[in-house]
Symmetry: C6
Subunit: 191 residues, 6 copies
């Protein structure tokens, strides 16, 4: 079932975009960080490609932790849990990579994510944003969910250019090359 955008900016929750045989959908990725022992948990019937994508994301975050003010021993002293409702629906593929990484960094640094942003894109270990499929269906789903800004991989630019102007009306699309750019757009800057 389609869900509206969050009404307020929250920490550790990011809107992703999925594409299935029956069309696009939004999925709200939730991350909890808790004092612990460095455990990394993934629930919501994620397939192995999606799990590997989450692991690439956490390695990326660890590799840039200093830049974002994360303590060196943070990942030993905390547990990270990513969950994607609806729990009975199998999910897979690499396109939630940047969404999961954004939700994790938000939860770790306690910075809220803009409630009116959705995103889609494969992440690499070095924070590059790689192209994904189903852009038209995903943007339609974002509009239905009242999203205002959609972040997509720069390498998908030509796919967006092929979408009818009517569909893109009322929604802004920005092209991302790196996770650094994604985080700049999605995280609400601390005052």
């Amino acid at each position: 079932s389609f869900q509206r955008a969050n009404t307020k900016d929250e920490v550790g929750i990011v809107r992703g975009l999925a594409w299935t045989s029956v069309g696009g959908d939004t999925l709200q990725i939730e991350v909890n960080v808790m004092p612990g022992k460095g455990k990394f948990e993934l629930t919501g019937q994620l397939g192995d490609v999606m799990k590997e994508s989450a692991r690439a994301g956490i390695s990326f975050i660890r590799s840039v932790s200093r830049k974002y003010g994360i303590e060196p021993d943070y990942f030993d002293k905390n547990d990270i849990h990513i969950h994607i409702p609806e729990g009975a629906v199998p999910k897979d593929g690499p396109s939630a990579g940047i969404t999961m990484a954004t939700a994790m960094l938000s939860a770790i640094t306690d910075q809220p994510v803009r409630a009116d942003v959705a995103m889609t894109g494969e992440i690499t270990l070095r924070g590059r944003v790689l192209p994904i499929g189903g852009l038209k269906e995903k943007i339609l789903a974002a509009k239905t969910a009242k999203i205002k800004l959609v972040l997509v991989p720069k390498q998908n630019k030509k796919d967006v250019e092929e979408i009818a102007a009517e569909i893109l009306e009322g929604i802004e699309v920005k092209f991302m090359d790196t996770m650094e750019e994604v985080l700049e757009e999605a995280l609400v800057q601390k005052a």
Copy 2:
């Protein structure tokens, strides 16, 4: 076989509602907490969706532990065991999420659960309550088991409104949006 509601309020036992091809049923979720090393055990032939649902529940509880007066190192120094009789019957799906979380919080905080309450709903990591299926059959099963109050997801309101008044007679249905609301209804407040 149908079982009557508990005759007294107990700690760590919560009545859930299941829905199978042969109709609704109640299932009594049991939780034991024991001094231990942070082990989390799940028995009763639970499928992977149900196991993930339990894990989402425990992460939710860990994330709000301060609010409920749970010691920071509680989850390192205790083992938690969730068991759902009847042990030979396979069970799956996300709809016991809020029931398992309530039973765990009851056992951890040693607060009894109202014996005349049953509940059904998917839980998310952040404690949101998501809609589930089979509401009519579940409510019928609750009535047969002499339950007085049924807690269901707010997003299932329209499904309840479609149920014949006759069926709803003699049983109260309350709509839940968050685990906070569920716990307020289900836990017997300490005097």
Copy 3:
């Protein structure tokens, strides 16, 4: 092959009752406890339902350990091994639950079990005794093995009432609602 009842009361050995397509049978559950590190081992070709049943039993025992004079750190400093001969015969189902729990408690507390008792019943985490199947065949097997007392779930009372008086002749059947009752009947009280 049918085996006679033990000729003397032993610690850590309890007679269970099984029910297969070829009729009832008795099975002698053996438990060894040894100084160790809290390992829990299950052998004898036990299926997953039976293994979960054993785990529910050990959690029940841990939760009532104080009552039975078991040291708080007992389960960290000892290993428990449950074995059910005949080792090549696959066994499954929840009906050996109370038998395994009784054998474990006997071994842990070093109290002998009455040699002329057999039992069958599902155990829950909280020590409730739930109903099982194949009662008639099991009672026949108990008689053949010269058992004098059979402990069965109270919820199976109606099934026993349907068994011909002839079959029940010479064997006593007692109805159990909780593990507490089972232990009172089965354990030989220390002088």
Copy 4:
């Protein structure tokens, strides 16, 4: 290929008897014990019933360790490895139970095993010896391998009585009820 009996009594090597669709065979069970951390290794393409049988054997030995002069922390400070050549041939079943236990106890206590003895029988956790199949074929294989004494379960007595006298000529068969009896026959007593 058939192998003759060892020419001298060795520590940690015991002759077992196997029974396959193509007849009986002997198999030489080898055990090494080494300073270590309590690891228990099983190689030689053993099936799960056979592996469980080995585990029952080691638990039995642990439970009687005091009687055989084994230090309480022996099983924490040593690794035990059971190997059954020929490594490419799958082996399974419970009938090597007493053979593996004898080989382990020999290796642990450094007592040689009589080179002219072979044995077959299921072991239980408490050291009882349970009946097995294929006795006739196994005894024929033992004779071919120039074995002088075969230890078999007491409960197989009737099976031995049905074997033609001609076959039993030149080989002694002793009936065992407990591992204690097996060890008394098989181990070469320290001078």
Copy 5:
């Protein structure tokens, strides 16, 4: 999709060459090293042959660590993560062996890799470079990606000699016998 060569020399990123039923392709292997506990992670849908190849590579590096100035306890105090985008495409085979080893050594020693180099070859534990398949297709892919130098196993020399001169035009091919030679060509020497 084909990707151009990196525009600048980077640490921990090496261009490999793949060969599939639809022709050659380049794949950019990424390695992150992070303070940790010696964990070794492999993502990007790598098959078991490829994973074993990565493990051979890390053992090779450990065995020559002194030569490359790597601290003796480096592999206990750091985690190594190898990821190969595109994350949804299954990858397998031993031919990325030298590429993964080069990327790891670059990341560990913080030496950049030449951006205009690509390579292919099986690695052994001792750093020998073994021959691989699909050379012609791989070289075509390298040219398309504007690679200037391709490192291939010396034992593939005859395969290269069979490739049309036209195809080899504009790209240099060097023949490698050992990882030492590979590293000399690929790593940008520290000033």
Copy 6:
């Protein structure tokens, strides 16, 4: 592809002989030992029989470590990695047992192995050498690889005697009963 014998004696590399449906082949077993924590790694697509064979070998070496001057805590403080190129070719069976054990002992004791020796034979936990198959094909492969001495199990003597003299011309075959004999032939004695 056939490979010539090593041109010089190396530590931790031993030539084995394999036998497949397409004839005999040589395979060069590589072993690296590295400061570590007692990890034992096996790569090169080894089947489970071959892996168990390697484990029997390492247990044998541990049991005779004093004799070969290996420190008692060596196996706790070092990791051992066995790799068999070509990494994409599945390998199985027990016949590389003595080859893997020789390569490990060479690497552990830092004694070179004669470059002109190849070997084949199953190893047991106690260092006995058991017979294997495909002798004729293996000896042909050894000759092609310019091997001078082949070590084979004594129990294969009759198989060698059936091989045509022409085939055996130019290659020496020695018969081994124990690993002790194998090591005496294969290891280059320290000056």
